[in-house]
Symmetry: D2
């Protein structure tokens, strides 16, 4: 397969995943938020390495946890909207399975 065909395949594959996974509309926004989150994680490592004041490190960990929570809630909302509602609309037995899976993910989020 040529490089060109390979890329074309990859694009098609992506488009299909998109149709399936559905959060691509905000993908760039999610990636920007996750880059910030990676930066926050690196910053916390640096603070420990430089032995910064413990309470200040805890404040940064709380901020990072809240940022992660916000991303999780956004992804979950997108997932329910696209994936679960679509399954319900297309009418198969799939919707119940999708929902059970989403409920288990919600429970993990609430408890983590």
């Amino acid at each position: 397969m040529s490089e060109h065909e390979h890329v074309a395949d990859r694009v098609a594959e992506r488009a299909e995943e998109h149709a399936h996974h559905g959060y691509i509309s905000d993908k760039e926004r999610y990636l920007a938020r996750l880059r910030r989150i990676e930066g926050q994680a690196r910053g916390i490592s640096r603070m420990v390495d430089e032995e910064k004041y413990c309470i200040d490190i805890l404040t940064q960990i709380s901020a990072l946890t809240s940022a992660l929570e916000a991303v999780a809630l956004g992804l979950l909302d997108d997932h329910l909207k696209h994936c679960v509602l679509d399954a319900a609309r297309s009418g198969g037995p799939d919707a119940e399975a999708k929902l059970a899976e989403a409920s288990a993910a919600i429970a993990r989020l609430v408890r983590s």
Copy 2:
């Protein structure tokens, strides 16, 4: 100041911070855990970039949140043990202030 003196100063400064901030005994362990946490954050970015299944991303976010929580609880325990107890033992009015600060950090953790 020569480079050598600069380094010596820096070491002395570190030692003093250590005496003050107190969690150095486990510092390497904290840094190793934080490197894993940075890796988890990068992994989540990659999953979004590759449009992995949303529920799998949420599972990784819950795991990262739990890992952060464990680091925060460890740092907090060290802080109470070294910083707050030491202040109480040396008997000044500082202990109450340290404790008020620690309680505020606990509240942020519980609510984040």
Copy 3:
């Protein structure tokens, strides 16, 4: 209206609400769990009144919080299953509104 008619009306009304709100199948189980939760809340009041050891009271509060979380997750799952999926299946614009409302409730749970 006779007492009999009044009761009949009330039963009809309940049945209708049931059709709408959907969690009646497990209603007795929820009520039993909530009675236990009320008992736990009373027990915590009694512990404070009798000045029990603070750490033991905190343990009971954590247990009560977990029990409440479990009820909330159960109700949420029922709600998504009955109310949100039904709205999606019947095909109106109502499903999006129901889902936005559910997502806001999930966010409150995760953050509380």
Copy 4:
């Protein structure tokens, strides 16, 4: 023992517990908050019994969880202030044990 002596004994016992458990200064305030919490728990039972709208019940559960969290954070702060600091000041090995116990309670709160 006369009723009078019995009451006097009880008062002395309470005073001693107070010296030990330390949160009595705010006891009436805690009891008032816990009575409100009991009322919230009863209200949630009633809402399920009357099959109120699920999302409204979830809102009440989130409010109750936050109220419990606030009581727990208050009790914990009092405990650290009175019980743990006092142990540190009186200088015995007890302070470490008290602190380990408090850290375990904090971990349960953060995770519940």
